[in-house]
Each structure stands twice: as structure tokens, then as C-alpha cells.
């Protein structure tokens, strides 16, 4: 099988999810925003946002059920690096109003200039970071 077929098919599903959430609930499928919103219970959308996050967590087990194996997950970074990275990702996505899903999947689809800028910036710093770590290693 073509190695790029699963990534493409997975991407189509992700896009379908974003389209569903917009057309049915009027919501942007931005994971960092949805997750951060869970810290503010009582908002009108809390239940639906929590349901989305629950569905997201159930996704990999559902995949395992269908495919007969869990998706591959190779984590090279150590725990301190992961903790630092998590802090940066959490703080950065809130400050920057979104992540790969909100700015990438949804924002690019709306041709939002803010999202295009954000995607270019996080791709650039992500690539520079990996390159810098490669030099240091």
C-alpha cells in the first residue's frame, strides 16, 4: 500500500470532523481552545466540548478495535523535556489562540490571515527546534 494513503485518509477524517462540528454545532474544532474551555465549567458549551474531548480520547481505542493494533507511538523525549514542551505548548497555544487544529485545519480552511501567520510561525520554530536539537545531539 502507498505509505501516504493512511495519512491522507486520516487527514480526510480530521477534516470531516471539523466540517461536522462547524455545520452541526457552529463550532471551530480547535483542540487547545476546547480543552482550555473545560477549565471553565458552567459555560453553555461545556457539555458539548467535554463530549468532543471524550470522543477524541476514544478515537485511538476505536482505531485499535478496527485495525487490530494500536497506533504506533514512539516518544523520544525524556520526561523533563516533555514537561517543558507541555508547558510551552499549553501556554503558547492559549497566547496564540490556537494550535495545529484551530489554526491549521480550521483557520487555513477559512483562509484566515491570522491562522496562516500562526501556522507559518509554528512550523518555522518547530523545524528550527528539531534542527537545533539535531545539532546538539
Amino acid at each position: 500500500m502507498n505509505p501516504y494513503l493512511p495519512p491522507l485518509a486520516g487527514g480526510l477524517l480530521i477534516g470531516l470532523s471539523a466540517a461536522m462540528l462547524l455545520l452541526l454545532n457552529g463550532r471551530i474544532a480547535g483542540i487547545s481552545g476546547l480543552v482550555a474551555g473545560l477549565g471553565r465549567p458552567g459555560s453553555a458549551r461545556w457539555l458539548a466540548d467535554a463530549a468532543f474531548v471524550l470522543g477524541l480520547i476514544l478515537g485511538p481505542p476505536a482505531f485499535a478495535l478496527l485495525a487490530g493494533h494500536w497506533p504506533e507511538m514512539r516518544i523520544a523525549a525524556g520526561l523533563p523535556a516533555l514537561a517543558l514542551a507541555g508547558l510551552l505548548v499549553g501556554f503558547g497555544t492559549r497566547l496564540g489562540s490556537g494550535c495545529t487544529s484551530g489554526h491549521g485545519v480550521c483557520g487555513l480552511a477559512r483562509l484566515s490571515l491570522r491562522s496562516i501567520a500562526a501556522v507559518l510561525v509554528f512550523l518555522a520554530t518547530g523545524m528550527l527546534t528539531v534542527a537545533a536539537l539535531r545539532v546538539l545531539a
Partner: protein
Amino acid sequence: MSAALHSLAALAAGLIFGLGLALSGMLDPARVRGFLDVAGAWDPSLVFVLGGAVTVSRLGYLLSRRLRGPVLDSRFDLPARHRIDAPLILGAALFGIGWGVSGFCPGPAVAALSTAAAPVLVFVVAMLVGMALHGLLPAAPMERSRSIGTAGGSGNRRARGSAST
């Protein structure tokens, strides 16, 4: 409105998102970092993930512009801000660094909680702490939620809300 239907739709959308992530290879930080590793053995598969996702998402967005409102709600809650400002750039830059170090962005990390792997738990807890730290900043401008009626020209009920993407 009907909270049950809303939640059911959101649950289904979340499940499809998580399935898509698992199928696409995005749950594998090594693969994600391979995509970011343009100076090394570059793995282009994420181009296909993002390409496929943005294409279908774009179709959904174009369809939404022809609708008066979403099926289960009264209005589309879309980001209202258009200015490219310092918080956007700084935030995206910090996120990119964390993404490069770990290979995780929020969607795959949350989806991977189902594996109950310790590194994932550490990353997600730290991510939540990072989000909470941002919440402590004075006058975080993106928290203000407003929904004023028509925008976007053709009589669509498009809210100018604060939907954080």
C-alpha cells in the same frame, strides 16, 4: 438549545477526529518530528494529513457560508479577530518550540491519553498547567466572548464571537 443532540454531535465529531489522528500517524511523535526534521530524513506524510484535512474542512466552511446557521445551534461561532499581533506570533512561536521538542501538539496528546502512557500524562498535565498559567495573565484579551449578529455580508447569521481556534 438541545444539549443532548449538541453533545452527541460533538462526541461523534471528536471520535472521528481521534480516529483520523490514529490512522494518519499523527499520534506518533517520532513521525511528527520526522516531518519537522527538514534538515534530516524528512518525512512528508504530514503534508498529506494537513492537505486532506484542510480540503474537507474548507468544503465544510464553504457550505456553512450558504447556510443561515448551523443545524443544531443558532449561530456560527467564528473567531472575530483579524489583526496579526504580537501575542499571536509569540504564542505560535512558543507552541512550535514545544511541538518540536516533544512531537506532540494538543490534539494527538489528548487523544493519546487513552494509551495511559506515562510520558503522555506528563506532557498533558504540563500542557494544562501552561494553559492555566496563561489564564493568570492580566486581561487575557481572547477570553472576552461577544456575539453580535450579522457579519459577512449575505445575511448569514455569523457571530463575531471569541471562538478561540
